[in-house]
């Protein structure tokens, strides 16, 4: 499978059937609700295709990672509608991963519950009953019991009370845009011929470091940079390709 073939990856998901490329197009055109796309299903399809090969195709993996990162970024953005109001904040990486996994599992359950309700509705489609009063039912006189005006005042007091400060802990898992790091690395390379990736991202959160790494892969893919690493887990050095 070549890198290009990643885009032709055949998908057979609940919400979508067809090539990966088309899925991305539909999502970007807002014709497919991203919340309905099972990202795990896409990953499973890719891993299965990869397993058919004798040797790993790093080019295809890189391409796939970048596309999935874009998909996840879009999906993550959907979770946080008012991103402008939220400050960048570090969240313990383990907490973040746990929170995300938990939330995906919870959503899956409710999606299954919605499917159950849909089936139930279809099974009950031949059950008819009357809504509202019977045609010849006696009409009740229902005078409202005397009410206390203090209840009105306290209802307004409640509405005037400051809302409780909402817990934002679950919102703190935020993905900065990949483009942020593309610009940043290009700026660095316009000043210096090379830099050490690890040192450049040292002060960032784990989530930001991950996105920065994706930006690195993207620059490598389009041929703007070269990468070097003396040994696994050693610092990564970045050179301008020109």
């Amino acid at each position: 499978m070549s890198a290009v073939a990643v885009r032709d990856l055949d998908l057979d998901l609940d919400s979508f059937e067809g090539p990966f490329d088309l899925l991305l197009t539909l999502v970007l055109k807002d014709e497919l609700e991203l919340a309905d796309v099972e990202v795990a299903g896409v990953v499973a399809a890719f891993v299965e295709r990869l397993a058919e090969r004798a040797s790993p195709d790093l080019e295809a993996c890189g391409e796939f990672l970048v596309l999935m990162a874009a998909l996840l970024e879009l999906k993550a953005r959907g979770l946080f509608p008012d991103e402008d109001e939220l400050a960048f904040d570090d969240l313990d990486p383990e907490e973040a991963a746990g929170e995300l996994a938990e939330r995906l599992a919870l959503y899956r359950r409710f999606k299954a519950a919605a499917a159950w309700l849909e089936e139930r509705l279809a099974a009950e489609s031949d059950r008819y009953f009357r809504l509202g009063p019977a045609p010849l039912a006696p009409v009740p006189e229902r005078p409202l019991a005397p009410q206390d005006p203090v209840a009105l005042a306290s209802a307004l007091r409640q509405l005037a009370a400051d809302p409780p400060a909402p817990s934002l802990s679950h919102l703190e898992l935020r993905f900065p845009p990949v483009s942020l790091f593309l610009d940043r690395f290009r700026a660095v390379l316009s000043r210096r011929r090379q830099f050490v990736f690890d040192r450049e991202v040292d002060s960032l959160s784990r989530v930001e470091q991950a996105v920065a790494f994706l930006a690195l892969l993207e620059l490598r893919k389009v041929g703007e940079i070269k990468l070097g690493q003396p040994a696994p887990f050693e610092p990564i050095t970045v050179w301008s390709a020109s």
């Binding site: 008012d82 045609p135 039912a137 005006p149 209802a155 307004l156 005037a160």
Partner: protein
């Protein structure tokens, strides 16, 4: 289905069952034509089946009685059950007002005349069904429009004052600790609603 278990099924029996079903879900009396159209049968056969139903659902034999009224046919309760029915419909002695109704009523009483969009803005949720319920109960009423072609505004009614034991809106409990005057109260409520992010 169970028809097979019966030695003889009267040919109109099935039609009669269909008509029973239509009558039990109808919210107004059904004419013979309406019954014939829904059951896709002939009006003569419908009349025969209605005769069968009338003999089954009659006073003394059943608690459900088929009644022929001006607009057509409808089921009603048997007369012998009149007292029980009266207890049923009177019984839910108004438990008072729901939270949604109370909040909407408070906004209208203190800030009225006020439109549905304004109420929704303060409450943070659509006010349509709460407003409709209060209008139906006669506690609030329309009071002109915001401007030509603008939204309808609502005010509290004399019935509202009676139910709440007030001789006028000026007798509403004071909210001086929240704001001076209704304009300040309104802007404070809108400001809080904005922070609630609703």
């Amino acid at each position: 289905m169970t028809g097979a278990l019966r030695l003889v099924e009267n040919p109109v029996d099935r039609l009669a069952r269909t008509l029973e079903a239509l009558l039990v879900i109808a919210s107004s009396p059904l004419s013979i034509e309406e019954l014939a159209a829904a059951s896709e049968d002939e009006t003569e056969r419908v009349e025969t089946a209605l005769g069968l139903i009338a003999s089954r659902y009659r006073e003394g034999r059943s608690g459900i009685v088929l009644e022929h009224v001006a607009g057509g046919y409808a089921f009603r309760a048997a007369r012998e059950a009149a007292e029980a029915c009266a207890r049923l419909v009177e019984r839910p002695v108004q438990r008072g007002l729901s939270q949604a109704a109370l909040e909407t009523l408070a906004v209208v009483a203190y800030l009225g005349p006020v439109s549905r969009p304004e109420i929704a803005k303060i409450r943070g949720v659509a006010a349509d069904s709460a407003v409709a319920g209060l209008v139906e109960r006669g506690l609030i009423a329309e009071a002109g429009r915001e401007s030509d072609g603008g939204a309808v505004r609502y005010r509290a009614t004399p019935l509202f004052e009676r139910v709440f034991g007030l001789s006028g809106l000026s007798e509403l409990p004071r909210l001086d600790d929240l704001a001076e005057g209704s304009e300040e109260l309104r802007s404070r409520l809108e400001e809080v609603a904005g922070r609630r992010g609703a």
